[in-house]
């Protein structure tokens, strides 16, 4: 339906030969809100350890983060600046709790960046008419994109004021909270309904809770707007070989994590089902 103005998604990123974690020092730890911190990681000692490919980083790509003797999990890069990369960690389970306890000077392992990030949807959607819609820690995935598209409208939704991300980093953003404690009371999808009605938006990028993204994708389809969403699935290899991250025949780690609205429309599990560590299908929260 919207094929005519959706640029072709780029092919999945080419795999590097090695996929081994590179141990790097945490340069700075920043508190983002009541439950999330950013670890800014120095890339200084990266050169003599193969495993990092950051020159070709596109917003939306992720790294596998290794804590020795514990676990390894995917995190989107929320910052990539001269000599430093950042991940923003929302505290929920034991692994993220451990990451949030880390201090400057400690080391963690990174490999990547992997996967397909957001791509340019073409000339019909210059920055000014694009919308970036984030919910909760989906903001970490979207932040580097918002930096590359400074004219786009950034809309953030959170449960309450103390769950907001990057309010200083992106001062012009539109804020929604579930409880009305900051910005507008309600969901960021309400903004999209209005913007679509006003014809004020030409393309949408989103990341957040899957029900929210499913609603965004549905609204965009209804309005014929190109849309991209970054989804999350449990991962093991991160490099397309184990099949753990499957979502309806697509490997989220290489063919995703960013998918177009058209692709998601053909993925019945999107917004409904994911797989646990055993591979069993369970409902998305």
């Amino acid at each position: 339906m919207t094929e005519n103005h959706v640029a072709q998604p780029p092919p999945a990123a080419v795999s590097p030969q090695t996929a081994l974690p590179v141990m790097l020092e945490i340069a700075e730890v920043r508190r983002e809100n009541a439950t999330a911190k950013t670890l800014l990681i120095s890339l200084e000692s990266a050169e003599d350890q193969p495993g990092l490919i950051l020159e070709t980083f596109t917003p939306g790509q992720f790294v596998m983060v290794w804590v020795p003797r514990m676990d390894e999990k995917p995190y989107a890069l929320s910052y990539l600046e001269e000599g430093r990369a950042g991940i923003t960690v929302h505290r929920r389970g034991p692994f993220s709790k451990r990451l949030c306890e880390m201090r400057a000077g400690e080391r963690i392992g990174l490999r990547g960046a992997y996967g397909r990030g957001f791509w340019d949807v073409g000339e019909r959607a210059p920055g000014a008419s694009a919308a970036i819609i984030g919910g909760g820690c989906g903001m970490a995935v979207l932040a580097p994109l918002a930096e590359r598209l400074p004219e786009a409208t950034l809309v953030q939704g959170a449960r309450s004021a103390d769950g907001l991300f990057f309010t200083d980093r992106f001062p012009g953003q539109v804020i929604f909270t579930d409880d009305g404690s900051a910005g507008r009371h309600g969901l960021p999808t309400e903004w999209l309904v209005e913007a679509v009605a006003d014809g004020a938006v030409e393309a949408v990028y989103t990341c957040g809770p899957e029900p929210m993204m499913a609603r965004v994708v549905e609204l965009c389809r209804g309005a014929g707007l190109p849309c991209q969403a970054s989804i999350e699935r449990y991962m093991k290899c991160g490099i397309g070989v184990c099949g753990q991250c499957d979502c309806d025949g697509r490997r989220v780690c290489v063919e995703g994590p960013v998918f177009s609205g058209e692709e998601l429309a053909r993925m019945p599990s999107f917004g409904r089902r994911r797989r646990d560590k055993t591979g069993r299908q369970i409902p998305v929260e």
Binding site: A12, S15, Q17, T18, A19, L20, P21, M23, S45, Q49, P50, M64, W66, P68, R69, M70, D71, E72, K73, R107, G109, K236, C237, I239, G240, V241, C242, G243, Q244, D246, D248, G249, R251, R275, K277, T278, G279, R280, Q281
Partner: protein, 316 residues
């Protein structure tokens, strides 16, 4: 796909009645977690596919990192994570509707568990069944549970044989002094064919900054290019032994295959078909079609008209 093109060599294979359009088979553990991914593997040109090994009860497997790639291949210690035979039975229901034959893979801690998992899965419509007795990195299973002895091999094979009439393949470890003895024990137990080999090792990679092995389980099976010459020799040994005993059981050769040349090499060592796992990483999911295309060209250049001519060509 099973009809060879007018000029090309005949690449079709008959594995104990299972008909493959070409000899490439998805190896167990790569991608084969879901029906949808197996369907993609079929579309990318594989001759057949094997599911990731399933146990009776669900297993979480080892902690990450479970799969890492280094300059000569891959190390994995996934630890048989799987949703259990009941859930897998739902995942793979009516698997015979796919365009290629699909092999089940089941494991257990003892012969009874192997048989129970096979009994639950085979009604899904699998074309055949593979039993790995050879995982080197999961306590309670494979070589860590003594499944790699001739006695255990025969006993487990016999137990599984009793619950299925479909072609049964026993998957062997390269980490044994005499792989051909194990192959003969499997045949004695009622196997129709042999898969050789599972991963090598286990091996270990240590990160020197962290002063820690990288894999969550510390050690893991080696696959990919590093394994290939070992796998070729194992297949050669097994083929020689089977031939000596007048046994025609087919061999699926697995280990480091990523090109048509590698596939032909493996067949010259005695394999009828070739398993492909790690090369999904190095060459993408399209690797099956690529290998088949390369194999076709190579056979043409070497005036090989059918794979029967190549099979075992390097054996004494």
């Amino acid at each position: 796909m099973s009809t060879p093109d007018a000029t090309g060599p005949n690449l079709s294979v008959n594995l104990c009645g299972i008909k493959l359009g070409n000899p490439t088979v998805l190896a167990s553990g790569a991608l084969g977690m879901t029906r949808a991914l197996i369907q993609r593997v079929a579309r990318s040109g594989a001759g057949a596919a094997t599911i990731k090994s399933v146990t009776v009860r669900p297993r979480q497997g080892h902690n990450n990192p479970t799969v890492i790639a280094y300059e000569a291949g891959m190390l994995n210690a996934v630890g048989y994570s799987n949703p259990g035979a009941d859930e897998a039975g739902r995942e793979f229901a009516d698997i015979d509707r796919l365009s290629i034959p699909v092999l089940a893979s089941v494991v257990g801690e003892d012969a009874g568990e192997f048989a129970a998992a096979a009994e639950r899965l085979m009604p899904c419509g699998f074309a055949g069944l593979e039993i790995p007795l050879s995982c080197p990195h999961t306590p309670g299973y494979g070589t860590l549970a003594g499944h790699g002895t001739p006695e255990a091999t025969e006993q487990i094979t016999r137990a599984v044989r009793a619950v299925t009439d479909r072609p049964l393949f026993v998957k062997l470890s390269p980490n044994v002094p005499g792989i051909s003895e194990l192959a003969l024990a499997a045949i004695e137990g009622g196997a129709d064919g042999i898969c050789a080999v599972n991963t090598l090792g286990p091996g270990m990679i240590i990160n020197v900054e962290a002063r820690e092995p990288v894999l969550g389980f510390k050690m893991g099976g080696v696959s990919g290019p590093a394994l290939r010459p070992v796998a070729v020799r194992c297949v050669y040994d097994v083929a020689t032994a089977l031939r000596r005993h007048g046994c025609e059981a087919p061999i699926i050769g697995i280990g480091g295959i990523s090109t048509g040349r590698h596939a032909l090499e493996m067949m010259m060592a005695g394999a009828s078909a070739v398993g492909v796992g790690t090369a999904v990483y190095s060459r993408g999911i399209e690797v099956f079609g690529k290998i088949t295309q390369e194999l076709r060209q190579l056979c043409r250049r070497l005036s090989i008209n059918s794979l029967d001519e190549a099979r075992g060509a390097a054996l004494q």
